[in-house]
Assembly symmetry: C2
Homo-oligomer: 284 residues x 2
């Protein structure tokens, strides 16, 4: 018998991974949660059947969502992570001694519990003393915050299911308000390649631009996400991710990274013409 996990990237495109073992399958209040083991990818977390991370390539996503804002402003002290229940984003943040406070707001306590049990590679730093976890809706949490954070990272699922509210105009407006005067907002920004994802990308970009004077998009190669071409949004009140990049300062920290480096940081903001055109389009 062979067991295969298959994700439909579009109606006509499927990506399948041979599963050696199902480590966990369950249903939380919010979503279905599965943990598989695969020879090629190690442990794999899926939510509602969609790929969240694999041990083989989670470093790419987490490097890019954390080190890009941190190298732009190495003085960041107070960080809010929305989503990110697997703990990978928090793990990278805890590597900075300069960070004093990490609040993480995850709607689904089950995800954190299961990742702590099955995927310590990402969840292993959730007990860092600077980390406080709030199990509530990120949308509601940011409504209550004002002038509180230097950095907000939106490490959400796709904009269907529990992650939907994290792509709304109201949410981005509240993020703006929750950020200090030099604040940065980074979010996972979907993919430009398949139109179902590209539409979410266009919409998110347009909404963020309404609030933030600096609003750019950068890219990474994440082979286990649909199309492998994944984007992140960088929005901020004052910092420009290229002009203000603290290259020497970041390199002097001596952090070892498997994907990120400061040359790549700059290069990742150079995006293809067709992606630029999509971002500038007037999608409703």
């Amino acid at each position: 018998m062979e067991l295969w996990y298959t994700e439909e990237h579009t109606e006509d495109v499927r990506f399948s991974i041979k599963v050696d073992k199902v480590l966990y399958s369950g249903e939380s209040e919010f979503q279905r949660i599965d943990v598989f083991y695969s020879k090629e990818f190690g442990k794999i977390l899926t939510l509602d059947g969609l790929m969240m991370l694999t041990e083989k390539d989670e470093f790419i996503y987490h490097d890019m969502i954390v080190h890009v804002p941190m190298a732009t402003n190495p003085n960041i002290e107070r960080v809010l992570v929305i989503g990110g229940g697997d703990g990978g984003t928090v793990r990278e943040l805890t590597r900075y001694q300069t960070i004093k406070k990490i609040d993480m707001v995850e709607i689904d306590e089950e995800v954190v519990k299961i990742c702590k049990t099955y995927i310590p590679q990402t969840a292993g730093k959730l007990d860092d003393l600077r980390v406080q976890i709030f199990f509530e809706d990120g949308l509601k949490f940011v409504r209550k915050q004002k002038d509180e954070y230097d950095l907000i990272i939106v490490d959400s699922t796709d904009p269907f299911g529990p992650g939907e509210g994290l792509f709304t105009k109201e949410f981005y407006g509240n993020c703006y308000k929750a950020l200090k005067e030099n604040g940065i907002l980074v979010n996972q920004h979907e993919s430009p390649y398949y139109s179902n994802y590209a539409n979410s990308m266009i919409r998110a970009h347009r909404r963020i631009k309404e609030f933030f004077p600096i609003c750019k998009v950068y890219q990474a190669h994440i082979p286990t996400y649909p199309s492998g071409h994944w984007l992140f949004g960088f929005a901020s009140k004052t910092f420009d991710p290229i002009e203000d990049l603290e290259e020497n300062k970041w390199n002097s920290l001596g952090l070892k990274t498997k994907y990120y480096n400061t040359e790549l940081h700059k290069g990742s903001f150079a995006i293809p013409n067709y992606v630029k055109e999509l971002l500038d389009s007037e999608y409703e």
Copy 2:
């Protein structure tokens, strides 16, 4: 009934596309050739069951294999294309008025015939008066050339099957000899992500470095290739692809491109740490 094309990226990873119609299936002297039609990707060419191109994203590969060397040295006049039977590389080259001669060496005449019939999107410029097609083994063809070309583009299949000779030390040495004193060699360079491809990448890079003083690697997002993370090799006798990039000159040509731009050109040479480490490793 549903028809699906499936490519095994590794033993444990499969990528599948729903096929609406099989336009051609046949066996040449060298390989199996199929042309499918898919709603998501348009026409698709596979050789020996491996994805060569789709109408949806061939622009990415062809932009990156042609415009990167052309923008580095816009004075290129004489070009040799090895492989590339689908015609996409030649199509991009013919857009440069400054190019006087394009020799294309394709081992398999059937591929060219079938692409001319079924995929005019890529094959439509093979009749350009500057183009001469040689149906022979690229490895043997370059043996006979000396000091002849400003640019050689190796648009080959993977290094198994008919493309194997185009990844050998002998071949790269002959390319060096076939190039003029300012010559550039660009080749498709496989993917760093899955080890079966990464080993070919490491080997190719090490062999090219033995001949060319300048030897770099650049990347692109090609969603229909294994992992979507694809590399190209840039080797040259004198030109550096970043320092010598003729940004203004290239932009003044006014060529419209869907993927390539000169910012992306520079960004594409910034590669992840894990890829750098693989390229520097001493794989045998």
